[in-house]
């Protein structure tokens, strides 16, 4: 699975930047400076092991276990470690809970900071100029694009990840989920719910 080593066969010709990326990898591999399997390992880590399923497991637990929820909101790092999660870009995790009168939204206006160990690598929109520019100045217009309409009584709290703190939104448990298991509940929690651009739905 190594780019730059002739394994890729695209229908279309490679772009200049793709060629350059493959050349950089090939160069570092040829000199023995970067190992192809280390690159593969990083890619596979975030494609297979680490992704929104981790964050969803945290939220699912918080929905069924009030004591866990309290620990999560009080000390994010310790609480996610209970479920085996943590690492780079969740060095200082703060979980923020939605309520009937508070909706939380996460952004990084300066960069693309994001809690990798819980959500994987961020979607393109999270890293793009429109979201970075608008989330802090017109959050309701942004939420509307995602199909989320909130009542005027809801205070929107936009968290700009300007330092080394990373945020996880704990959405409200939807009505009608009383009989569901922790696993079934976690399946309702999409990535966007934990960034604040979606609400969990049955």
């Amino acid at each position: 699975m190594s780019a730059g080593h002739g394994h890729h066969h695209h229908e279309r010709p490679a772009s200049a930047v793709e060629l350059r990326a493959r050349a950089l990898e090939a160069l570092l591999a040829e000199r023995g400076l970067v190992s192809t399997d280390a690159i593969d390992a990083v890619v596979e880590l975030y494609e297979n092991d680490i992704g929104p399923q981790n964050g969803a497991a945290v939220v699912g637990r918080a929905w069924v276990d009030d004591a866990y929820r309290e620990r999560l909101l009080a000390d994010g790092n310790s609480a996610i470690a209970e479920l085996g999660f943590g690492g780079a870009e969740a060095d200082n995790l703060v979980a923020v809970a939605n309520t009937p009168t508070v909706h939380n939204l996460i952004v990084c206006t300066l960069c693309s900071c994001y809690p990798w160990p819980l959500l994987g690598l961020p979607p393109t929109w999270y890293k793009s100029p429109p979201y970075r520019a608008r989330a802090v100045s017109e959050p309701r217009a942004v939420l509307r694009e995602f199909g989320v309409e909130l009542g005027a009584e809801v205070e929107i709290r936009v968290w700009d990840s300007s330092a080394e703190v990373r945020y996880l939104v704990v959405p409200m448990r939807p009505e009608g989920t009383e009989g569901m298991s922790e696993t079934e509940l976690a399946a309702l929690v999409t990535r966007d719910c934990m960034v604040g651009t979606a609400l969990p739905r049955l």
């Binding site: 950089l24 570092l28 975030y46 780079a88 969740a90 060095d91 200082n92 979607p123 309701r140 694009e145």
Partner: protein
């Protein structure tokens, strides 16, 4: 080129269009993109680069290039720059390899299982900030004003909050000021605060109901209001 009150500092800027676009929900679209991400991680972990890190390096891009480039194209830029600065690669090396690849040369992979283990360990390890001090410059509930300033390099104080008055909500811990630590200065950590701002303070009365914006700000960025 330590001058980066640049276009990366986008909070509140106009003209970029809609957030939701086809394909935007994917972390990447091309197989080379996460590989560039991995290479950047390995450059840091294996000490192959020099100078400011990937983020500060990307902020030094020409503004037109920064905006025109795709996300991982910026990462490719910072990876190359950091390798060049340390002399790990020389100018022209990448271009020469492009020529070889275009000529059909097939490059063998390089295996190093220990390196793979090291990077996985590193990515699974958190490096938390130091604990909050008993007594810091500011306290929860206190009103603070963000300094009007014009940093000559990397900063974590976005333009859109400079000069604004907010309220300290919490102390996050202590950390070295990025404006100096990024360039290798040996400095002591200082408290980092969660500070909330009303949208009306930041932007004036707007078309949306008032909302709250919260940032994590180093003590140096603020003064009592």
């Amino acid at each position: 080129m330590r001058r980066v009150d640049g276009v990366h500092d986008m909070g509140g800027m106009h003209g970029f269009g809609p957030v939701v676009e086809t394909g935007g929900e994917l972390p990447y679209r091309e197989p080379w993109e996460p590989r560039v991400f991995a290479i950047q991680m390995l450059i840091s972990a294996e000490g192959l680069g020099a100078g400011p890190g990937g983020r500060a390096t990307r902020e030094e891009m020409d503004p037109a290039h920064y905006l025109a480039a795709s996300y991982y194209e910026r990462w490719l830029y910072s990876a190359e720059q950091r390798l060049l600065r340390r002399g790990t690669i020389a100018p022209g090396d990448v271009e020469a390899m492009v020529v070889r690849l275009e000529a059909g040369e097939t490059m063998p992979p390089h295996a190093d299982a220990a390196m793979a283990e090291r990077i996985l360990d590193e990515l699974r390890t958190a490096h938390p900030m130091g604990p909050a001090p008993a007594q810091g410059a500011f306290s929860p509930g206190q009103r603070v004003r963000v300094r009007r300033m014009h940093p000559q390099g990397h900063t974590r104080c976005p333009r859109y909050v400079r000069g604004a008055v907010g309220v300290v909500e919490a102390v996050r811990g202590v950390d070295r000021l990025p404006d100096r630590a990024t360039y290798g200065e040996k400095i002591q950590p200082e408290p980092v605060y969660s500070v909330s701002f009303s949208s009306e303070e930041l932007w004036g009365a707007g078309q949306e109901p008032a909302f709250t914006v919260l940032l994590d700000l180093w003590a140096s960025y603020m003064e009592p209001a």
